[in-house]
Amino acid sequence: MTDNQSALAQQQAPFVVPPVDIYEDDGGITVIADLPGVSRENLAVRIDGEELFIEAGATAVAPENMELIYGEAQFSAYRRQFTLSRELDATQVEANLKDGVLRLRVPKAEAAKPRRIEVRAG
Protein backbone atom coordinates (compact mmCIF):
# COMPACT_ATOMS: atom_id res chain seq x y z
CA MET A 1 0.00 0.00 0.00
CA THR A 2 1.22 3.49 -0.66
CA ASP A 3 1.83 5.75 2.30
CA ASN A 4 -1.38 7.62 1.70
CA GLN A 5 -3.47 4.49 1.52
CA SER A 6 -1.99 2.96 4.63
CA ALA A 7 -2.46 6.20 6.57
CA LEU A 8 -6.05 6.37 5.43
CA ALA A 9 -6.65 2.74 6.32
CA GLN A 10 -5.29 3.34 9.78
CA GLN A 11 -7.55 6.30 10.24
CA GLN A 12 -10.57 4.27 9.22
CA ALA A 13 -9.78 1.35 11.53
CA PRO A 14 -12.21 1.29 14.44
CA PHE A 15 -10.95 3.14 17.47
CA VAL A 16 -12.07 4.08 20.93
CA VAL A 17 -12.38 7.69 22.08
CA PRO A 18 -10.65 7.76 25.47
CA PRO A 19 -12.42 9.65 28.27
CA VAL A 20 -10.56 12.75 29.47
CA ASP A 21 -10.52 15.20 32.34
CA ILE A 22 -9.52 18.72 31.36
CA TYR A 23 -8.62 21.44 33.83
CA GLU A 24 -7.40 24.96 33.28
CA ASP A 25 -5.51 27.04 35.77
CA ASP A 26 -3.51 30.24 35.52
CA GLY A 27 -0.46 28.45 34.19
CA GLY A 28 -2.00 26.33 31.49
CA ILE A 29 -4.22 23.38 30.73
CA THR A 30 -3.98 19.84 32.10
CA VAL A 31 -5.45 16.95 30.13
CA ILE A 32 -5.76 13.53 31.78
CA ALA A 33 -6.75 10.63 29.49
CA ASP A 34 -7.57 6.99 30.24
CA LEU A 35 -5.50 4.76 27.96
CA PRO A 36 -5.56 1.31 29.58
CA GLY A 37 -3.25 -1.29 28.08
CA VAL A 38 -1.04 1.33 26.43
CA SER A 39 2.68 1.43 27.02
CA ARG A 40 5.08 4.18 26.02
CA GLU A 41 6.12 2.55 22.74
CA ASN A 42 2.56 2.46 21.49
CA LEU A 43 1.64 6.03 22.33
CA ALA A 44 2.02 9.02 20.01
CA VAL A 45 1.26 12.52 21.24
CA ARG A 46 1.83 15.11 18.58
CA ILE A 47 1.08 18.70 17.75
CA ASP A 48 0.19 19.67 14.22
CA GLY A 49 -0.30 23.39 13.96
CA GLU A 50 -3.00 24.11 16.51
CA GLU A 51 -4.18 20.52 16.80
CA LEU A 52 -3.11 18.19 19.58
CA PHE A 53 -3.38 14.50 18.64
CA ILE A 54 -3.39 11.55 21.00
CA GLU A 55 -2.98 8.24 19.20
CA ALA A 56 -2.31 4.98 20.95
CA GLY A 57 -2.66 1.25 20.63
CA ALA A 58 -3.35 -1.17 23.44
CA THR A 59 -1.45 -4.43 23.51
CA ALA A 60 -3.69 -7.46 23.58
CA VAL A 61 -3.07 -9.65 26.61
CA ALA A 62 -5.41 -12.46 25.69
CA PRO A 63 -3.91 -15.84 24.77
CA GLU A 64 -4.16 -16.88 21.13
CA ASN A 65 -6.64 -19.68 21.67
CA MET A 66 -9.07 -17.64 23.72
CA GLU A 67 -12.72 -17.53 22.76
CA LEU A 68 -14.35 -14.23 23.66
CA ILE A 69 -17.53 -14.77 25.66
CA TYR A 70 -18.39 -11.26 26.70
CA GLY A 71 -16.59 -8.26 25.26
CA GLU A 72 -17.24 -4.70 26.31
CA ALA A 73 -13.93 -3.57 24.86
CA GLN A 74 -13.54 -4.69 21.28
CA PHE A 75 -11.09 -2.23 19.79
CA SER A 76 -7.49 -1.70 20.68
CA ALA A 77 -6.83 1.70 19.10
CA TYR A 78 -7.36 5.01 20.86
CA ARG A 79 -7.66 8.36 19.13
CA ARG A 80 -8.63 11.80 20.19
CA GLN A 81 -7.74 15.26 19.06
CA PHE A 82 -8.10 18.72 20.51
CA THR A 83 -7.84 22.15 19.00
CA LEU A 84 -5.60 24.30 21.14
CA SER A 85 -6.13 28.01 21.41
CA ARG A 86 -3.46 30.48 20.55
CA GLU A 87 -2.51 31.49 24.06
CA LEU A 88 -1.26 27.97 24.77
CA ASP A 89 2.41 27.28 24.13
CA ALA A 90 2.32 24.10 22.04
CA THR A 91 6.11 23.73 22.07
CA GLN A 92 6.25 23.19 25.83
CA VAL A 93 3.85 20.26 26.19
CA GLU A 94 4.79 17.81 28.93
CA ALA A 95 3.46 14.26 28.78
CA ASN A 96 3.55 11.52 31.37
CA LEU A 97 2.17 7.97 31.03
CA LYS A 98 1.70 5.77 34.06
CA ASP A 99 -0.57 2.76 34.65
CA GLY A 100 -2.51 3.52 31.51
CA VAL A 101 -3.18 7.16 32.42
CA LEU A 102 -1.75 9.92 30.24
CA ARG A 103 -1.24 13.35 31.80
CA LEU A 104 -0.54 16.23 29.47
CA ARG A 105 0.39 19.69 30.57
CA VAL A 106 0.12 22.49 28.03
CA PRO A 107 1.37 25.75 29.53
CA LYS A 108 0.15 29.16 28.51
CA ALA A 109 2.57 31.37 26.68
CA GLU A 110 4.19 33.82 29.08
CA ALA A 111 2.51 36.80 27.52
CA ALA A 112 -0.92 35.24 27.94
CA LYS A 113 -0.77 34.53 31.68
CA PRO A 114 -3.08 36.73 33.73
CA ARG A 115 -1.21 39.69 35.09
CA ARG A 116 -2.11 42.57 37.25
CA ILE A 117 -1.73 45.83 35.48
CA GLU A 118 -0.25 48.57 37.60
CA VAL A 119 -2.31 51.70 37.53
CA ARG A 120 -0.17 54.75 38.00
CA ALA A 121 -1.72 57.72 39.61
CA GLY A 122 -1.66 60.96 37.69
Binding site: V16, V17, D21, D34, M66, L68, Y70
Partner: protein, 147 residues
Protein backbone atom coordinates in the same frame (compact mmCIF):
# COMPACT_ATOMS: atom_id res chain seq x y z
CA UNK B 1 -8.05 -5.73 22.53
CA UNK B 2 -9.76 -8.71 20.96
CA UNK B 3 -11.26 -8.57 17.53
CA UNK B 4 -13.20 -11.81 17.83
CA UNK B 5 -16.90 -11.47 17.23
CA UNK B 6 -19.04 -11.97 20.26
CA UNK B 7 -20.49 -15.47 20.21
CA UNK B 8 -23.00 -16.46 22.86
CA UNK B 9 -21.84 -19.60 24.59
CA UNK B 10 -23.00 -21.74 27.47
CA UNK B 11 -26.06 -20.61 29.40
CA UNK B 12 -24.23 -19.43 32.48
CA UNK B 13 -22.40 -16.81 30.45
CA UNK B 14 -25.44 -15.53 28.65
CA UNK B 15 -26.86 -14.94 32.12
CA UNK B 16 -24.12 -12.43 32.80
CA UNK B 17 -24.73 -10.86 29.46
CA UNK B 18 -28.38 -10.29 30.20
CA UNK B 19 -27.82 -9.00 33.71
CA UNK B 20 -25.04 -6.68 32.62
CA UNK B 21 -27.17 -5.48 29.78
CA UNK B 22 -29.87 -4.49 32.19
CA UNK B 23 -27.46 -2.39 34.18
CA UNK B 24 -25.37 -0.82 31.48
CA UNK B 25 -25.02 -0.76 27.76
CA UNK B 26 -22.14 -2.31 25.92
CA UNK B 27 -19.33 0.16 26.16
CA UNK B 28 -18.84 1.65 22.71
CA UNK B 29 -18.02 5.30 23.01
CA UNK B 30 -18.97 7.51 20.10
CA UNK B 31 -16.52 9.96 18.65
CA UNK B 32 -18.82 12.79 19.62
CA UNK B 33 -20.37 12.26 22.99
CA UNK B 34 -21.72 14.23 25.90
CA UNK B 35 -19.27 15.38 28.49
CA UNK B 36 -20.26 12.71 31.02
CA UNK B 37 -20.03 9.79 28.69
CA UNK B 38 -19.49 6.95 31.13
CA UNK B 39 -22.58 5.33 32.56
CA UNK B 40 -22.22 4.75 36.29
CA UNK B 41 -22.24 1.00 36.06
CA UNK B 42 -19.65 0.47 33.39
CA UNK B 43 -16.34 1.03 35.14
CA UNK B 44 -14.21 -0.93 34.77
CA UNK B 45 -14.85 -2.17 31.25
CA UNK B 46 -14.42 -5.94 31.19
CA UNK B 47 -13.91 -8.74 28.70
CA UNK B 48 -14.47 -12.35 29.57
CA UNK B 49 -12.96 -15.17 27.54
CA UNK B 50 -12.68 -18.91 27.58
CA UNK B 51 -9.74 -21.19 26.83
CA UNK B 52 -9.61 -24.95 27.31
CA UNK B 53 -7.51 -24.46 30.44
CA UNK B 54 -8.98 -21.40 32.08
CA UNK B 55 -11.40 -18.52 32.19
CA UNK B 56 -9.82 -15.18 31.41
CA UNK B 57 -11.20 -11.90 32.72
CA UNK B 58 -9.68 -8.63 31.57
CA UNK B 59 -10.60 -5.37 33.25
CA UNK B 60 -9.55 -1.92 32.11
CA UNK B 61 -8.50 -0.09 35.26
CA UNK B 62 -6.26 2.82 34.33
CA UNK B 63 -4.92 4.81 37.25
CA UNK B 64 -6.00 2.28 39.86
CA UNK B 65 -3.30 1.10 42.23
CA UNK B 66 -3.12 -2.71 42.30
CA UNK B 67 -2.62 -2.65 46.07
CA UNK B 68 -5.96 -0.94 46.64
CA UNK B 69 -7.87 -3.32 44.40
CA UNK B 70 -10.07 -5.96 46.01
CA UNK B 71 -10.19 -9.11 43.96
CA UNK B 72 -12.20 -11.91 45.56
CA UNK B 73 -13.71 -15.23 44.60
CA UNK B 74 -16.56 -16.60 46.59
CA UNK B 75 -18.93 -19.43 45.68
CA UNK B 76 -18.19 -19.22 42.02
CA UNK B 77 -18.45 -15.45 41.78
CA UNK B 78 -15.47 -13.25 40.94
CA UNK B 79 -15.68 -9.71 42.26
CA UNK B 80 -13.45 -6.84 41.19
CA UNK B 81 -13.94 -3.88 43.52
CA UNK B 82 -12.09 -0.79 44.57
CA UNK B 83 -12.07 2.95 44.34
CA UNK B 84 -10.55 5.36 41.91
CA UNK B 85 -9.70 8.74 43.34
CA UNK B 86 -10.66 11.83 41.40
CA UNK B 87 -7.58 13.72 40.21
CA UNK B 88 -6.65 16.67 42.36
CA UNK B 89 -6.79 19.73 40.15
CA UNK B 90 -4.50 21.70 42.49
CA UNK B 91 -6.02 25.10 42.30
CA UNK B 92 -7.56 24.79 38.87
CA UNK B 93 -9.93 27.55 38.04
CA UNK B 94 -12.02 25.87 35.36
CA UNK B 95 -13.04 22.28 34.72
CA UNK B 96 -13.79 21.72 31.04
CA UNK B 97 -14.28 17.98 31.05
CA UNK B 98 -14.67 15.26 33.66
CA UNK B 99 -15.42 12.18 31.63
CA UNK B 100 -13.22 9.79 33.58
CA UNK B 101 -14.99 7.82 36.22
CA UNK B 102 -14.04 8.63 39.81
CA UNK B 103 -15.32 6.89 42.88
CA UNK B 104 -16.03 3.35 44.06
CA UNK B 105 -16.62 0.57 41.55
CA UNK B 106 -17.58 -3.07 41.59
CA UNK B 107 -17.96 -5.59 38.80
CA UNK B 108 -19.14 -9.12 39.40
CA UNK B 109 -18.59 -12.08 37.10
CA UNK B 110 -20.25 -15.46 37.41
CA UNK B 111 -17.79 -18.28 36.97
CA UNK B 112 -18.87 -21.64 35.61
CA UNK B 113 -18.83 -24.80 37.73
CA UNK B 114 -15.54 -26.04 36.37
CA UNK B 115 -13.61 -23.00 37.58
CA UNK B 116 -11.09 -23.84 40.30
CA UNK B 117 -11.03 -21.00 42.85
CA UNK B 118 -7.77 -22.17 44.37
CA UNK B 119 -5.87 -21.59 41.14
CA UNK B 120 -6.28 -17.96 40.26
CA UNK B 121 -3.58 -15.78 38.80
CA UNK B 122 -3.86 -12.03 38.41
CA UNK B 123 -1.50 -9.59 36.67
CA UNK B 124 -1.79 -5.84 36.39
CA UNK B 125 0.02 -3.82 33.77
CA UNK B 126 -0.48 -0.42 32.10
CA UNK B 127 -3.84 -0.14 33.80
CA UNK B 128 -5.05 -3.50 32.51
CA UNK B 129 -5.93 -6.23 34.99
CA UNK B 130 -5.94 -9.80 33.77
CA UNK B 131 -7.37 -12.53 35.96
CA UNK B 132 -6.89 -16.16 34.93
CA UNK B 133 -9.04 -18.70 36.72
CA UNK B 134 -7.90 -22.20 35.90
CA UNK B 135 -10.45 -24.90 35.29
CA UNK B 136 -10.53 -28.00 37.40
CA UNK B 137 -8.31 -30.76 36.07
CA UNK B 138 -11.06 -33.31 36.39
CA UNK B 139 -13.43 -31.35 34.20
CA UNK B 140 -11.07 -31.03 31.26
CA UNK B 141 -11.58 -33.39 28.33
CA UNK B 142 -9.49 -36.53 28.63
CA UNK B 143 -8.83 -39.41 26.34
CA UNK B 144 -9.82 -42.74 27.86
CA UNK B 145 -7.49 -45.60 26.96
CA UNK B 146 -9.11 -48.87 26.12
CA UNK B 147 -7.13 -51.68 27.63
Amino acid sequence: MLNATFRPSADMFSEIGRLQGLLDQVFRPAERSPIRALAKGSFPVINVGNTPEAIEVMALLPGVDAASLQLTIERGVLTIAGERAAPDPQGAVTVYAQERYAGPFRRVINLPDDADPSRVNATHRDGMLRVTVSKRESSRPRQIQIA
